[in-house]
Symmetry: C2
Subunit: 421 residues, 2 copies
């Protein structure tokens, strides 16, 4: 067992407040949460030094392997970016490259206290290898679209990757309405029905995406997906920047998750998502970094800050969003959005996916309100330790992922040059 | 002498590009910038391990001692925030408290690679003590307004604090139009003339500030200040969110600096500054964090990111702002805005105010473009070393400021509780 003591715990059960508790983990699970007591047999005891233990951050939308395009195509119009700087190079990706690029991303996630990702890309075998070798928890998301030679492999993938490893799961998904024709959408709906499974996709990221869908179908993407039965068993949308009242009603009625990607939406000039409208409508909001080609960081502190402050400027009201809601989105709601119902809070029996926040740093001082300190002033410097499934994978700046960082960087640089050069 | 070797230098002279150079410092100055050569006698040699040496970041607008209100009053409307949660507690501040709270801020600046601040507050003796004891470089900014019993002390302060220490300088300034009556403004203008000195102030931060000024004077704040001669010898404005075309012309014609505070403008729901219009008009833009009560972090990486991406979403154009312009603003333009003409670039004879960026972290990998990596993906985790006036004050997470961090935090917490409790 591992014992966390001498600190505070925000369990994310009920109200968000730090409590002076101990947390013991046993194997991959949380074995005890409560006041200090006798009786534990520990292989390691971790003095939290007054820090705060949280359920790990959940990155509810990303494309990890896109690290290979980080800072390769910035400050360019969206069209140029996508058609000249992303698609042609993605076409050159091999499984080996995806494996190498995903590892860089996993390291960055760990350094930011992220314990699982909802990851949409291709070469999924390579993804599985990178994640399981590092000990990282990933939920893969189907990404089928018109460019897939065999979109019907979605069902095979669904069954295959949901059985491949306890650290890996897989959700039905497709890329987006604008890249996916109606027959494929109908096929996705049939799978949702067959497996009573939720479905996820990019949804209403840009104004032109919504306009195009209306032109093609006379409906918004959300209305279209709902009309086809795609959302009959839940799921969600990534981005959700341009949402009509009717879209929000559908999200609420279907229990869909809206995954916001504030940093990407700024950098690609997509817009600012209506998070206040979502909250008012009772929609659960999770948070994602999106891929490193459009962010360019994979940092939950950046996303939390933006998810808290962008609604304020969108509504021109400094009280528009509360930091506690945002922290809950980053830790608990994200887990539920990805179907990780055993990673959403700190409770006996849940998986031991934890982040230890170092409060002995100037940006956390003085301490009037630790939740607000984390959301408004927190940064990667405050991540002292990241644990996934009971294993410490990151601590004091060092990685314990079975690979030497320098070698991971070297390989990523070599392959990135090869592909983009 | 201290030698930096085995890395890259972005000197900020001319184009922004990393060059494989060495930098030697001698006392407080840069003694040599060039290829490796014989002949140095070094007390220390710093292996940059491939990292990047930059002129330190300049925080061109802040109120450091407001750390005492960090996370004390968030998510509240601006009026409540200012009148109920800021002003009443500021009234209780003593010099000893300002000293303690400023030290927390200085530590945070160092952890973010910030080597000097343009700091507007009161109890300036305490500020000077905190900065000089830590070895930090500060430019104090006059903050006179209607609440000062003797606004005419501005002149005394100007002469006193410009002579107090090589690390300290002082600029003429007043709080803002809406807190400063015309007789004081005229007095400031007379000092500007007497000393041929630039003047700085909060300028056009909110729409209501501009509307109020127009109602009182039939002019925008910028027009008013210009009409009084306040800007006759240069200076600048903090925030500059609501700027008319005429305001921008005045800024251009007078060579005024616009200091943008993107994070504060979001959090207080002030708006998004027209940085593209400023660039087009040829106005120099510097970057500031504003105070920790309205940000709440003191992190130049956050501000650089926002200064780069907010213009994109404001103009709905992903190519609206280039990362290189932003990095130049953070390092060089900031220095010039504050009158630190010997801290703007890495060049023989300039002050040795430097930040060493650690690129051996996942967020800096792979490396297509180091400038974009720093602006779009950089974080405090990448600050390996911060040097001010030739002294290493921060390295590998540790502070060398003649004070024990735990004691600084303890004192700040004690005093913050005393004041706000």
């Amino acid at each position: 067992m591992i014992r966390f003591y001498n600190g505070r715990v925000i369990t994310m059960q009920g109200e968000l407040r730090p409590e002076s508790l101990e947390v013991w983990t046993d194997g991959g699970k949380i074995a005890y949460v409560g006041p200090g007591k006798e009786g534990g047999s520990f292989e390691r005891e971790i003095d939290m030094k007054g820090g705060v233990l949280l359920p790990g951050f959940k990155n509810a939308h990303t494309h990890s392997a896109m690290t290979f395009l980080r800072s390769f195509a910035d400050d360019e119009p969206l069209d140029t970016w996508l058609n000249q700087k992303v698609f042609p190079y993605e076409a050159k990706l091999t499984g080996a490259a995806v494996y190498a690029f995903a590892k860089v991303a996993i390291m960055e996630y760990l350094s930011s206290g992220i314990t699982s990702c909802f990851d949409m890309y291709f070469h999924n075998d390579a993804y599985v290898a990178a994640n399981t070798e590092c000990g990282f928890r990933a939920v893969l998301c189907g990404a089928i679209n018109n460019f897939d030679k065999n979109p019907r492999k979605l069902e095979d993938d669904y069954n295959k990757y949901n059985a491949v490893s306890p650290l890996i799961s897989y959700k039905l998904g497709f890329h987006a309405e604008y890249t996916t024709g109606k027959p494929i959408l109908e096929y996705v709906a049939s799978l949702a029905k067959k497996y009573s499974a939720p479905v996820y996709t990019h949804n209403s990221e840009t104004a032109s995406e919504v306009a195009g869908c209306k032109e093609r179908y006379g409906m918004t993407p959300t209305e279209l997906f709902d009309s086809l039965g795609i959302y009959d068993f839940g799921g969600g949308g990534f981005h959700c920047v341009y949402m009509s009242e009717r879209d929000l009603e559908i999200f609420r009625d279907r229990g869909l998750f809206a995954v916001t990607n504030p940093s990407s939406n700024l950098k690609l000039a997509s817009g600012i998502a209506p998070l206040c409208d979502m909250r008012k409508a009772g929609i659960s909001v999770a948070i994602g970094t999106d891929g490193p080609a459009s962010n360019n960081a994979l940092d939950m502190f950046r996303e939390m800050y933006l998810a808290a402050v962008l609604p304020k400027v969108r509504e021109m009201d400094a009280s528009a969003m509360d930091a506690a809601d945002v922290l809950r989105s980053a830790c608990s709601v994200g887990a539920l959005a990805m179907g990780l119902t055993d990673c959403d809070c700190i409770k006996e029996g849940k998986r031991a996916d934890l982040v230890l926040i170092d409060t002995n740093r100037p940006n956390m001082q003085p301490e009037h309100n630790i939740v607000k300190n984390i959301v408004y002033a927190g940064s990667k410097e405050n991540v002292r330790l990241t644990m996934i499934d009971g294993r410490v994978l990151y601590e004091n700046g060092e990685f314990f992922i079975g690979a030497e960082p320098g070698k991971v960087y070297e390989e990523a640089n070599r392959l990135a040059r090869e592909i983009t050069g």
